[in-house]
Symmetry: C2
Subunit: 123 residues, 2 copies
């Protein structure tokens, strides 16, 4: 299974747009039913399944404006690796590296976000 | 298992230095015995075990000067994600995103490199 790079980039851009403008359920709907999410990687918590994933994004919801910007994109078969910037409430900017795996329907089956405190910039 | 970010960055820097200045066997020695390597991701070939991995790097050896430069680094537990530039023979520059997983001894147990033709720049 493999997607053209621009198709994968479209999946990633849709994800970033939905994180910025959608509800937690909208973001979770981009994931496969049995997907896994680890954000940030290395903190011991892996969210398994769309319901748990919706809960994760629910925690990000609030009164804050969120903006996202794709910075660097790399395609690989049915996977994608990318750097992006996310700003929260105009107060801070984080620049993670994320890796996503997609199924044949373009749903995310695995998401891993690599970042730590050092990658947060107060604005 | 977890490493401090600067320790992980040291592992990655040592890897990039060895790719630039070492032999295939030197690079392979940074990998665990049963490690896996996929470079580029999505092309169907996963190299399994240190001997196969040495063979992969052997294919990169030659008369060409290789330089490497770490561009962006993100730590995550015992994993690292990073962007870097590699130039070959002063003729081309590639900028992959790589993800590495390390064992408790700091050996690489998994390496995945995300890049494609579009990420190659003739110099």
């Amino acid at each position: 299974m493999s997607f053209e790079p621009d198709v994968l980039q479209g999946f990633v851009q849709r994800y970033l747009d939905t994180v910025a403008n959608g509800k937690a359920e909208d973001v979770a709907a981009l994931y496969a039913e049995d997907a896994t999410l680890e954000d940030p990687v290395g903190c011991g918590e892996v969210h398994i399944g769309r319901q748990a994933i919706a809960g994760f994004y629910k925690g990000m919801e609030g009164d804050h404006d969120i903006t996202t910007e794709l910075l660097t994109f790399r395609a690989g078969g049915h996977e994608a690796a990318f750097t992006f910037a996310i700003t929260v409430g105009g107060a801070m900017r984080i620049e993670p590296i994320e890796v996503m795996v997609f199924d044949g329907d373009g749903k995310i089956t695995s998401m891993k976000a690599y970042w730590s405190q050092e990658n947060i910039t107060p604005l």
